[in-house]
Amino acid sequence: MFKKRGKILLSLLLVALALSSFNGCSDSAAKDDKFEVSIFRIDSLPQPDPDNKIYKMLKDEFGVTFKFEFLAGDLKQKLGVMTASGDYPDLISYDPLLKEAGALIPLEDLIKDNCPNLYAHYKPFWNQVKEPDDGHMYCMPDYGRFYGGVSDLTYEGNGFWIQKAVLAEFGYPKPTTLDEYFDLIEKYKAKYPTIDGQPTIGFEILNYQWRNFVLRNPPQFLAGFPNDGDVTVDPITYKAEIFANKDIAKRYYKKLNEVNAKGLINKDTFVNNYDQYMANMASGRVLGVPDQHWQFGKAEETLKLKERFERTYVPLGLTYDKSIKDHYRDRSLLNLHRGYGITVDCKDPLRILKLFDALLDEKWQKIFDWGIEGEDYMVNEKGRFYKTPEQLKTMGDVPWQSKNKALALYESMPKREGFYSDGNSVRDLNQPEVYFSQLSAYDKEFFGKYGISSPIEFLNAPPENLPCYPAWTIDLGEGSDAQIANQQMQDLGVKYLPRIILAAPADFEKIWQEYVDAFDKINVKAYEDKINKEIQFRVKNW
């Protein structure tokens, strides 16, 4: 009985299917033609809510649905399995390994011939997005394409961060050198040996796994160079050079050695893992860190929730002496090698590109950035966007985001930054109406003392970038001598720099010399040659 009924049902279904496909043929509008895009992203994000309103709009408008897979476990292992099996999703976060394995298709002609918006979007950087070795574009960079100038009110980058309470205590000075900075910290720590009953920590340096750049990067800034990673680039000859074993680094670590002898550096700092670091930062007893803000931003959020605004931080653009101009901030950069690539398994690459092309329209960009007008944000009579107190609360609320934002797709997609053509800022926090309404009274007063409105103004406005900037985006090549040398240099830094800092001041020279000697055994030349070759390429072609 049951079987028979099943058969009837099946044949009915088949008929219905056939009919509907006839129907599909007769109606040639592309909108009814559903398509699914599979995406693999190298970040570990939560799956979007099935009722997410933005994805629903995309489905209604373009007939597109998305199937996400996020990274769980080790990236290289995952990519290794993928390339060995040759099974790829349609869209994938770019990785040099994928390019090398021939998993990605060249995009430059498809974009140039069919996608006017995308082409206009990348046109100013057309030579940058193409790979130096074969001249093809494999990746659509996600961030760094600014329209109408940079709109930053917030700052997530490098600096010597200091607690607002320290500056407030000594009459709102603005230290510009390393010596002044540590003087303030020393004085404050002597005056307040404990904060909330716990010992005050003068200075904390994170040195945990891949986050070890906190320990290794600062010397270049102190010498007035921008963030080029492991090298400094001469602004006139464009010659790149390792700095980790040079005098500009020695000077910084010598200073750290001195302040460590005075007890300003946390004893645990080099054995702390990231969680312990964040716990210290969130406790509000760390006076200074040489970090990038996005690393400890979450800890600062905790302090803000507890309304301990005086324990939050501002960045300082320290240099070795007053004659050096600080160069911590940089001009907007296209985020090379980060973003989607299209794989060889994708059946209709052009359709995806056309979708991205259509989504670059301001109407859609506003939906991705701000949401739905009247629901997620308001527009006043002058056409300015703002948020009501209830809407402000949803910012950063993860469960809310999974229902109302399309972050899983959008974060990696080609997108506008800066301003819309109507003058509103793309990012809500960079919109003055939003930024100032979420600023606390303490912060307003604090910034008022300096005559500024946001922490970013503590740093110099960035000069023009060198044409080859930044060197850290250079792809060293998988498994190349340059990459091995780079890993060895990192290992050496992680091993020796803590010893150098913690050594008794009398032993400093000896251990520094050991470090430099060990450096000489590494094939540094392979690394410098590769960097210089790419820099020359960039200078010529970008």
Partner: protein, 316 residues
Amino acid sequence: MAGFSSNQKLIKSRNIITLDVLKKQKQLIFMSAPLLVYIIIFAYAPMWGWIMSFQDYKPAKSFFDQQWVGFKHFEFLFTDPVFFNVLRNTICMSIINLVFSFVSAIGLALLLNEIKNIFFKRTVQIISYLPHFLSWIIVTGIVANVLSTQGIINEVLMKMGLLTEPVTWLSEEKYFWGIVGVSHVWKEVGWNTIIYLAAMSAIDPCLYEAANIDGANRYQKMWHITLPGIKSTFIILLIMNIGWLMNAGFEIQYLLGNGLVIDYSQTIDIFVLKYGIGMGRFSFATAAGVFKSVVSITLLLLANAVAKRVGEERII
């Protein structure tokens, strides 16, 4: 177990496989078939991949397009000064873990075996094996907190007056192996006792009764009955564990290690992750894997041979 009445004929016929024997054992053969298939698919077939270690393997190229490089990757492995350092760390930490875990597990099993109050015994057992179910990321988090300058270890030692100022335990090279060993014991001791307790429960109670009549005390019973009773289990586990000597673990050293102790914390697996897979050098990673396997098999065979020589249980 082999029975006391073993006659010569039976022993001899053991080595000759006849159709009759196969027929008699058909259920056993049938039952072992899936395992055999499993081993062929997941243990023998992947050994084909060892060929990669003689190539400069690039993903997505066919086998015939790969470039052959001979022993280049093995050369890199054996000439890198760091390699002998990580080899030493791996083996030393393995041995420390082996000794610690055997001593602690057998010790705890002996103690638990003496407890007559079932409720108390079960409670101790459950508490001691619960940490087994925690992942290393959690355990290392706990260890790092306990050992920090404001952690409980420093607090207690300072209150007792044994220390005048806190020690940063994780920054001292000389403590690292010990910390790893003790963390292993804390995490696994309860779990490891289970098998010994099982072996102890299989000991014939008559032996204890006879010993009682002969006037043996508790310690004598432990020494002369319980320990010999679990000896075969112990030897087999030891041989198997010697085969794992090249695997000192990865997570705990990776998560607890830091620059200050890197000369003592880095194991082969970490080295391979950094300089092999992490850079897409799959051939180099395979070469290290081949080396590890060869050493492991040699150690296993050696241990087995020694066990045979001294007349103990053995695996092969």
